[in-house]
């Protein structure tokens, strides 16, 4: 009989509907608009309502999450921006849609290249967020961002990012990629210690 399938189907929907309320009663207010609530709703044992009410609630992104790249700079004590990028061009070469444009700085007196970018552009309309630039950067200078709310009304005015828009402090990088940052810092300190040790033993 066709009616049994109908009743069963409606029963499933009704069960979900009721479950939403029983779970709400059990968990109280902490189910919504709290990090635990969101975590609970995306766990293996979740019951009841499943959706996260974006933009009022946001699912936290994992550390590996990748969106449009940015350039990292370290802040020196005097407050100057020390750009990590040496304009080696690996990111521009590895970029699959070729959306990175770099102009290398040139010393005006000698005409020799200086390891700093004079200009750096990323066309975010073309960028496919693959993360290859960040993966192969040897100087930890280009990294993937977590900020995905970048929509705008006019693509012609805002969608080619230049140095101004791309540069973000190392503090920000440490905040969004804590584990990776810590690992890189540890490796850097170790390398520097080795270098210092080598230097110390050399004259002897």
């Amino acid at each position: 009989m066709a009616i049994t399938g109908l009743i069963k189907g409606l029963g499933i929907t009704l069960k979900h509907f009721i479950e939403t309320y029983t779970v709400d009663l059990k968990d109280g207010k902490k189910r919504y608009n709290t990090p635990e609530g969101i975590k609970e709703r995306s766990s293996a044992d979740t019951k009841g309502i499943f959706t996260v009410q974006y933009p009022f609630e946001k699912v936290p992104v994992p550390e590996a999450f990748r969106y449009i790249p940015f350039l990292v700079f370290d802040e020196s004590e005097s407050g100057e921006k020390d750009i990590r990028c040496t304009s080696c061009g690996i990111c521009a070469k590895v970029c699959p849609p070729q959306c990175i444009w770099i102009t290398r700085s040139v010393n005006p007196e000698t005409g020799k290249p200086v390891p700093k970018p004079a200009k750096f552009f990323i066309d975010i309309d073309i960028c496919m967020n693959c993360g290859l630039c960040a993966e192969f950067c040897p100087f930890e200078a280009i990294r993937m961002d977590h900020d995905y709310e970048i929509s705008s009304f006019n693509r012609f005015d805002h969608h080619i990012y230049d140095l101004d828009k791309l540069l973000k402090p190392a503090k920000y990088y440490a905040k969004i990629h804590p584990k990776q940052y810590a690992e890189e810092e540890a490796a850097r300190i170790e390398k520097e210690a080795k270098k210092a040790a080598a230097k110390a033993t050399k004259p002897a």
Binding site: M1, A2, T4, G5, K8, G9, I12, T13, S42, S43, A44, D45, F50, V61, P62, E63, A64, F65, R66, S87, G89, I90, A92, K93, V94, C95, P96, Q98, I100, W101, I102, T103, R104, P113, K119, F121, I122, D123, M128, N129, C130, G131, L132, E135, F136, M144, I160, D162, K179
Partner: protein
């Protein structure tokens, strides 16, 4: 001849048919070169005498400026390795015999080769362009053809570094040069001629019932909610019954293969995500296998296990979507789909944590994967594999399988017999629902699939319902594989050495294939030892499965065509490439 020998060995065709077959002795190449005049004769004996009954892939390579080479990969439906045959033809006036009469599954693939290379297949029943539009000028995959906004032969482009200044390509050239027209083409007066050819190509059998009525052509799509994208079916109907049907595709065509030839080997990886965008992990897998085969490397143990886990999770979420959206096509608008999407969401979160993106994973590298499982993710996957997924698969099964609407609309509809399924080169759940237990993970194991205990799911009625049941059961088998992989997974590195952005790929050819959720996903890669592949071809299961759509829809009601297409489970990103 014992079964063992029949399955595992490749006969010495060059000795057996020395008149017109010789071994391909180029370095890094495999298979046999067949004289063009004897291709049909050879194919017939390969099929009938040697059991090579399953034509998997037909493609061509432009060895500019010397010759074209048409490449066939043929398998035995019992399992085993490939018989690769090649036909070399001159670049001027290229012609080769169509294998349609021997392997009907070559129909669309030969059309694609014609469309892309201009190679004419004599005796092909309907040789028209398939992906490009009818008025298009030129043969896009020939090496001397340049795409609109052509910049350089190979990436990376010199304009990007060290003196790069961003510019929009459309600013440079807003109206010109983005389409090539034939000489004397006037868009004002042009009437699409392909439409007539399409409608004339629909076979109109003589009316036997004596009723004075006419056949009517109905176009379903390109914009139609049931086509899961931009896809069109021209159906010839008699009353409500479908008499003949032809799919029309290419609306989403972006010449993925030409893009691949411009890219370096590594740069192709993120583009493969965009083929079958529902399950990018399997796409990565196939491509990585093909290039690794050429390079002669193997990933470390742990990476192999991670790959298998990701590929199987990908299969589960893809089948969830397929099952859910089949119900959409049957009229149960979105309630079952959303239940399926809910489970998919949990799997996508795993992908996001491990690869950084939910759908465009770009997770595999040649010789490993990008990163190890982050902290806590192992436990999440374990929870899914041992707790939630088995429960939810049973739940979906319980809700849907016995439902009256599902059974009345699916059982006995869109039947494909085993012989037809093999002849028409269908793969994946469609082939297995027709009673052919052919699963590449078993028939021609790759990666570490030979270590796991799982069943090849097979059903015997070949209708929509069986295809649906095969998918449900396959999800259970995938869960089983993941459970085993999680228990066996060793500690260790996920990549040997350091990942390189410029990989050295020796000259040669290779064909890597995996059992994707939609069937055999194969990548045919030809390298000439440089940084970019010489030829990059995708054997896409969605596209080739559509060859059988006409057979499935014949004599069915027009309303069932929607359900049949839904059970075929195509993804347009992969069909049109």
């Amino acid at each position: 001849m014992s079964e063992e020998i029949l399955v595992s060995t490749l006969p010495e065709f060059d000795v057996l048919y020395s008149d017109f077959v010789k071994k391909d002795e180029r370095n890094g190449y495999e298979g046999f070169i067949v004289e063009p005049s004897s291709l049909k004769e050879f194919a017939l004996s390969a099929r009938d005498r040697w059991g090579y009954d399953y034509l998997s892939s037909v493609t061509a390579v432009d060895y500019f400026p010397d010759q074209f080479e048409v490449v066939y990969h043929i398998y035995r439906s019992l399992g085993g390795g490939a018989l690769v045959i090649k036909v070399q033809i001159p670049r001027e006036d290229p012609k080769v015999d169509s294998l349609y009469a021997i392997y009907p599954g070559s129909e669309f693939q030969e059309r694609e080769v014609y469309d892309m290379f201009g190679i004419v297949f004599t005796d092909h029943p309907d040789l028209r362009r398939i992906l490009m539009w009818e008025g298009f000028e030129g043969w896009p995959l020939r090496k001397d053809w340049k795409e609109p906004y052509y910049e350089e032969e190979f990436k990376p482009y010199a304009s990007r570094w060290p003196n790069g200044v961003a510019e929009r390509i459309e600013d440079k050239n807003p109206f010109g040069d983005n389409v090539q027209y034939p000489k004397g083409f006037n868009p004002e007066t042009w009437i699409p001629s392909g439409e007539d050819a399409l409608y004339m190509g629909l076979k109109r059998p003589d009316k036997l019932d004596g009723v004075d009525s006419e056949y009517v052509v109905v176009n379903l799509g390109p914009q139609h909610p049931s086509t899961h994208g931009v896809f069109r079916m021209a159906a010839l109907i008699d009353g409500e019954n479908v008499v003949d049907l032809k799919p029309v595709m290419g609306y989403l065509h972006r010449n993925h293969e030409k893009l691949g030839e411009r890219n370096t080997f590594l740069q192709i990886m993120p583009f493969t995500d965009r083929l079958d965008y529902i399950n990018s992990m399997s796409n990565n897998f196939g491509y990585a296998l093909a290039v690794e085969k050429l390079m002669g490397i193997k990933p470390p143990e742990r990476a192999e296990y991670i790959r298998v886990i990701m590929a199987e999770l990908s299969r589960i979420q893809s089948h969830f979507v397929a099952a859910g959206f089949l119900l959409n096509d049957l009229g149960a608008f979105f309630t079952p789909s959303l239940y399926a999407l809910k489970e998919r969401e949990l799997i996508l979160e795993v992908f996001e944590a491990v690869s950084g993106s939910r759908m465009m994973c770009n997770y595999f590298r040649f010789g490993g994967v990008v990163r190890d499982l982050p902290e806590g993710l192992f436990e999440t996957i374990r929870q899914l594999a041992f707790n939630r997924l088995p429960r939810k698969i049973d739940e979906i099964d319980e809700f849907l399988t016995g439902n009256e609407i599902v059974t009345t609309r699916c059982i006995g509809v869109g039947v494909l017999t085993a012989d037809q399924a093999i002849a028409l080169s269908t793969t994946g759940p469609i082939l297995r629902a027709s009673g052919v237990p052919y699963d590449i993970r078993r028939a021609d194991p790759y990666s570490i699939y030979d270590r796991f205990d799982f069943d090849v799911v097979v059903r015997y009625h070949g209708d929509i319902f069986d295809r649906y049941l095969v998918r449900i059961e396959e999800m259970r088998q995938s869960v089983k594989i993941i459970q085993q992989a999680l228990t066996q997974m060793p500690e260790g590195p996920i990549f040997e050495g350091k990942s390189q952005y410029q990989v050295k790929v020796p000259a040669g050819e290779s064909y890597g294939r995996v059992e994707g959720p939609r069937g055999e996903l194969g990548y045919y890669v030809v390298s000439n030892g440089q940084a970019n592949p010489w030829r990059y071809h995708v054997r896409s299961p969605s596209f080739i499965n559509l060859t059988s759509l006409r057979e499935m829809c014949k004599n069915e009601k027009i309303a069932d065509v929607i359900a049949i297409l839904g059970a075929t489970d195509i993804v347009l990103g992969e069909v049109d490439r």
